[in-house]
């Protein structure tokens, strides 16, 4: 069953087409990965889905409900929330208060007992003992968990994760991957995630969409997508596409 539908969405900044006629569907209970080289339009696409910026053309639907035209807070109330690639904690609020903001202003059905729910979310992401600290004292991975807890506190149906694994060490990356699976398996939240670290993305995604220069160039199971000639060209250049090894190993783990 399709939960979230992106229909022919485009976004232009002056002459630059950051997102060009992209359509995709997220099924209920699915983890959909989005990959693509830098500047492919991944984050712009997230911003459009989350209502942070309007699309130049096209529309986004959650079930039958049209999200395009809603402000960001309206999209959150409908049940779609994003995290940020560069974490953006509220630096003037404690870790607990940060998450409480999400709990208080999230989808209307989950606004009761915001403080208790914020505590639960902190425990869920493993930040319980940091509740009364300021975000400035947290490590990068802890701030990523905070960003995640704050988004989860809004009670979403769809979670948009923008590079929550990038920049953390391999052990932390595995932990984070586990956490993402738990979010889907135990809480039934459908997830779209952008990730540069292909190994991590491949292991957790049910399907993968590849963007390049704002266009969708491939879509399918992770194992199929990495063998797609267009994808290999986009990432590694035409030489590699001809030798047809697929993307894997260390080359895939480095940000292109």
């Amino acid at each position: 069953m399709t939960l979230l539908r992106v229909e022919n969405v485009s976004k232009s900044f002056g002459g630059l087409k950051a997102v060009d006629q992209v359509s995709l569907e997220l099924r209920k209970g699915e983890i959909l990965g989005i990959i693509g080289p830098n500047g492919a339009g991944k984050t712009t696409l997230f911003s459009i889905i989350a209502g942070s910026m309007p699309a130049s053309a096209g529309a986004v639907f959650l079930g039958e409900r049209r999200l395009s035209g809603l402000r960001a807070n309206g999209v959150v109330a409908a049940g779609v929330v994003r995290t940020h690639q560069i974490v953006r904690p509220f630096t003037n609020l404690t870790v607990l208060e940060n998450v409480t903001v999400g709990a208080m202003f999230g989808s209307p059905s989950t606004r009761h007992n915001p403080r208790a729910r914020a505590h639960e979310e902190l425990a869920f992401v493993g930040l319980a003992e940091r509740a009364h600290h300021l975000p400035a004292g947290l490590t990068l991975v802890a701030r990523k968990r905070l960003e995640l807890a704050r988004a989860l506190a809004t009670g979403p149906k769809v979670l948009l994760l923008d590079e929550v694994i990038a920049g953390v060490n391999p052990v932390e990356a595995i932990e984070m991957t586990k956490l993402i699976r738990v979010i889907r398996d135990q809480r039934g939240i459908s997830i779209i995630m952008i990730e540069h670290i292909l190994a991590a993305l491949m292991s957790v995604s049910d399907r993968v969409v590849v963007l390049d220069y704002g266009k969708k160039i491939a879509e399918g199971k992770p194992a199929e997508v990495v063998r797609d000639a267009k994808v290999i060209t986009a990432y590694l250049g035409e030489e590699h596409a001809k030798s047809n090894g697929g993307i894997r190993g260390p080359a895939a783990e480095k940000s292109p």
């Binding site: 904690p89 509220f90 202003f105 989808s107 809004t154």
Partner: protein, 324 residues
């Protein structure tokens, strides 16, 4: 859980409530217990009014982080609306005050809705424009403000004396509101907006609504203060109500006391009023310059003003807990 606790809202801590009630009771009884000179009596009345305006300015300037240099516009609009209504003498005087507050709040909303999407210095610059435009238009709008010569109100000596308590109760309400807003959903939303407006919107904070609402509330309180101020002097004129130094005074009170803290701006207002009396009397040519110097010193060395100093001392007294 003891039963009395359930009668106090969750956000209100019993300690704060106790201090609050004690302070209100002492100030309420003061004129009965101590023979205050009329000068002191009146200075306290004005101090209550300005503490209230400083607290209300802080809702938008401190909590939401949108520094307004245009609050004199609401002070004046509220004052003149109240004055016009007071001249009609058809309702008890608190009705015109409330009316003035509503008109001022609505006026704040009218210019705030389009300008609040600006942030930081851009919003501040817009508020300077709003303040000055309001001053000019209303100075020339004789039908409403009586022009440069202003409006005279019916003189009521009894009312002027009792304004002490009206101003005190008004201040008490505003102080409770300050505390409530800081601890409410609205307050948390505003603080998140202050920190990162886009991230706030992305977790569901209705940015436009929160900012509009708080500017309305802030403007309404400042407008009511303008009305009480008009009653106090029985006379009201545009250059006094709308002057740029009036707007600056709201900012100064908050900065001296501690922008964004709940009660700091109130402390700042006390210092401001005392300092002003002293400086005007002793250094009439220099006093604005000295304010400027004070402002620079606060911003450079203690951005949280008096509140920051208090926090610092409190940390010293508990050396093991605040050693950061």
């Amino acid at each position: 859980m003891s039963t009395w606790r359930q009668f106090i809202p969750e956000w209100l801590s019993p300690a704060v409530l106790a201090v609050f009630v004690a302070a209100a009771a002492v100030l309420h009884a003061l004129p009965y217990v101590v023979a205050l000179s009329p000068y002191d009596h009146n200075q306290l009345t004005l101090a209550f009014l300005f503490i209230a305006t400083a607290l209300a300015w802080n809702w938008i300037g401190g909590f939401a982080g949108q520094i307004s240099f245009g609050h004199a516009a609401m002070f004046g609009v509220g004052g003149f609306a109240a004055a016009r209504a007071l001249q009609m003498q058809v309702a008890p005087f608190w009705v015109p005050w409330l009316l003035g507050g509503l008109v001022a709040g609505a006026y704040g909303l009218a210019w705030g809705h389009p300008t609040l999407r600006l942030r930081g210095p851009y919003f501040s610059i817009a508020t300077i424009g709003v303040g000055e435009a309001t001053r000019l238009v209303l100075t020339y709008w004789q039908g409403f403000t009586g022009g440069a010569s202003g409006l005279a109100l019916p003189i009521n000596a009894q009312l002027k004396y009792s304004l002490y308590w009206y101003a005190l109760y008004f201040l008490a309400l505003v102080a409770i509101a300050s505390y409530a807003i800081r601890n409410s959903r609205l307050g948390l939303g505003l603080l998140s907006i202050k920190s990162d407006v886009e991230a706030a919107a992305d977790v569901g904070v209705p940015v436009v609504f929160c900012q509009d609402l708080v500017l309305f509330l802030s403007g309404a309180v400042v407008g009511v203060a303008g009305g009480i101020y008009a009653s106090y002097f029985s006379f009201i004129e545009p250059s006094d109500m709308f002057g740029f130094d009036r707007s600056i005074s709201f900012v100064l009170m908050a900065v001296i006391g501690g922008v964004g803290t709940v009660f700091g701006p109130g402390l700042g207002a006390v210092v401001f009023v005392l300092l002003r009396q002293f400086l005007i009397a002793s250094y009439p040519q220099l006093y604005l310059g000295l304010y400027g110097l004070l402002l620079v010193l606060v911003v450079l060395f203690e951005p949280l003003g008096i509140s920051g100093l208090i926090f610092r001392v409190a940390r010293r007294l508990r050396p093991h807990r605040g050693a950061t």
